[in-house]
């Protein structure tokens, strides 16, 4: 862990300019992905006459609401490649962005509770190793050694039968990640405009040439959509459809505790995931609400199930109090993999469908999406994640490794 104290929050990390009448590229959505895209557009492709438009406050969407887990132990080659690339970027970004966002590589365990889980997990460890992703299989006593508060007795409903473990995985302070990117974007000349909602698009034939906003019209040569939960709303405005469904996903935190939980524990089967924030809160998440939803809140029965699972796995949590709960809107696809690439509209590009797990992908999403926007062609890492896969059938079915059921 690089530091136990949070960095000071500086007063001014970025300017708040008025929108100009035209830019070389407009990025819609000022979450982590939009900011990372703008950063790499400026840094890697020299595009600095660009703007990030955010309808609310900077990174107030899923970026501010996620449980901050970063790992790359996905099953398929395509996913391992892009998430592992992201993890390698996370490892160098604090220095590159000159901002300590408390990236803590404390390891992530994914628990197995059934024989099926065990087989699937061991298969995944093998697949990870073949892809150069650090992965180990842990027996229950090794699980206990790494996280002593876990209940590994075999007389509970879903006993811990082992776990996959990725030592390089961990957590980071999500707000600080956003601020770090925003500050560098600003330094490179990128405009970041908050309270600016995109309400429509200007097209010349099938080519996008501008965006309409609640603060006027902006002409542009290229548009990149990074709007997570609202991607299909924007796509509809632009005249095409996306194979995306938006669902509420919620998380919660306890009050502050002494350090008791040294790693990150996830369980897909009983459905809870837990880490302890730097300050001391227990941070927990669960599954999505089953129905489509754009309200940033989730169902109470999901919390009930998640707490039941948490208390069985971590008996000492029984006395912890929930301090607050909140929800985000995640954009899911049928193969639980993101969509990054071109769209049926010329010069309009989309980055979406990261669903419940896109925080970890932030740097790689930004890097590859910037490449696509700048060159008009896919980066080798995002090529498999093109919209066309729903037509060709080359799906990347990551439900097993997505860790949150959706």
């Amino acid at each position: 862990m690089s530091a136990d104290l949070l960095p000071e929050h500086p007063d001014f990390l970025w300017r708040n300019p008025e929108p100009k009448s035209s830019y070389d590229a407009v990025i819609v959505g000022g979450g982590g992905h939009g900011l990372a895209t703008a950063y790499y557009l400026a840094k890697n492709h020299g595009m600095t006459n660009i703007v990030v438009l955010e309808k609310g406050w900077l990174a107030g969407g899923n970026m501010a609401r996620n449980t901050t887990i970063i790992r790359s132990n996905y099953l398929w080659d395509e996913s391992a490649a892009i998430y592992e690339h992201a993890l390698k970027l996370w490892e160098i970004l604090p220095e590159e962005l000159e901002y300590d966002f408390l990236f803590s590589q404390r390891g992530v365990m994914n628990l197995a509770h059934t024989l099926g889980d065990v087989r699937e997990s061991i298969r995944r460890v093998g697949a990870n190793k073949l892809n150069g992703v650090d992965a180990e299989w842990l027996e229950p006593d090794q699980v206990k050694e790494l996280c002593p508060i876990l209940n590994i007795s075999d007389n509970i409903r879903y006993p811990v039968m082992g776990a996959t473990y990725q030592p390089r995985a961990g957590i980071a302070k999500h707000d600080h990640v956003a601020w770090a990117f925003a500050r560098k974007c600003d330094e490179l000349g990128v405009d970041i405009i908050q309270n600016c909602e995109v309400t429509g698009f200007l097209k010349d034939g099938n080519r996008v040439v501008g965006v309409k906003t609640n603060r006027g019209t902006i002409n542009t040569e290229k548009v990149g959509l990074c709007a997570a939960g609202h991607s299909s709303v924007l796509a509809e405005m632009a005249g095409f459809r996306l194979p995306i469904q938006s669902h509420p996903l919620q998380a919660l935190v306890s009050e502050l505790h002494e350090p008791v939980h040294p790693t990150v524990v996830m369980s897909n089967h009983v459905h809870v995931y837990v880490s302890q924030a730097h300050k001391g809160e227990l941070v927990m998440g669960a599954g999505v609400d089953s129905y489509n939803g754009y309200g940033q809140r989730g169902s109470f029965h999901v919390i009930e199930n998640q707490m039941a699972a948490a208390v069985e796995l971590f008996p000492i949590f029984a006395r912890a109090h929930v301090l607050r709960t909140w929800g985000g809107i995640v954009d899911t696809t049928l193969d639980a993999s993101p969509i990054v690439g071109t769209t049926p509209v010329e010069n309009m590009f989309v980055n979406c469908g990261w669903g419940t797990g896109g925080f970890k992908g932030t740097p790689a999403a930004g890097l590859t999406f910037a490449h696509t926007i700048a060159t008009g062609a896919p980066h080798k890492l995002n090529k498999p994640f093109a919209l066309e896969r729903f037509e060709t059938g080359a799906l990347i079915d990551e439900h097993g490794a997505a860790a949150v059921a959706h």
Partner: protein, 140 residues
């Protein structure tokens, strides 16, 4: 948690139900004539409406029957419950187009006690009935 009024059993907690996604998506009439693009549309593309959405629900731990429901995906207000195979009640389509989550005073069936197998009261009050969903009468 939603309180859902099953047409057969009355109001029950959401946990008794299973969500079935968008309603009124018909199976292709001539499957052999579909190209890859059209198959993709049928298999993977569904509306993701922000506003009033027609969707299917299964009362899995009750009568085990499917039914359709109009629900606002922003406010989560349930506006109508109606049987499979019947057209989408029209008034809510107008509400969806206005893009707002506001509801007419009489437009919710949430919590209404009695079982009902017909579309609820808002059906006939429409002034703007142009629905954006797939052909009517499509089921399952």
């Amino acid at each position: 948690m939603l309180l859902i009024s099953c047409p057969n059993c009355g109001s029950r907690d959401e946990t008794e139900f299973h969500y079935g996604g968008q309603a009124h998506v018909p199976y292709p009439e001539n499957p052999n004539e579909l190209n890859d693009r059209e198959w993709a549309e049928f298999l993977f593309y569904r509306d993701n409406t922000k506003g009033v959405f027609a969707e299917r629900w299964l009362h899995s731990t009750g009568c085990r029957q499917w039914f359709n429901m109009l629900r606002d995906t922003v406010s989560y207000d349930i506006q109508a419950v109606y049987p499979m195979g019947t057209p989408r009640p029209a008034a809510a389509a107008a509400a969806a187009e206005s893009g707002t989550a506001s509801l007419a005073a009489d437009s919710t069936t949430t919590g209404s006690a009695g079982p009902s197998t017909s579309a609820t009261s808002i059906a006939e009050t429409s002034t703007n009935a142009s629905s954006t969903t797939a052909p009517e009468g499509a089921t399952k």
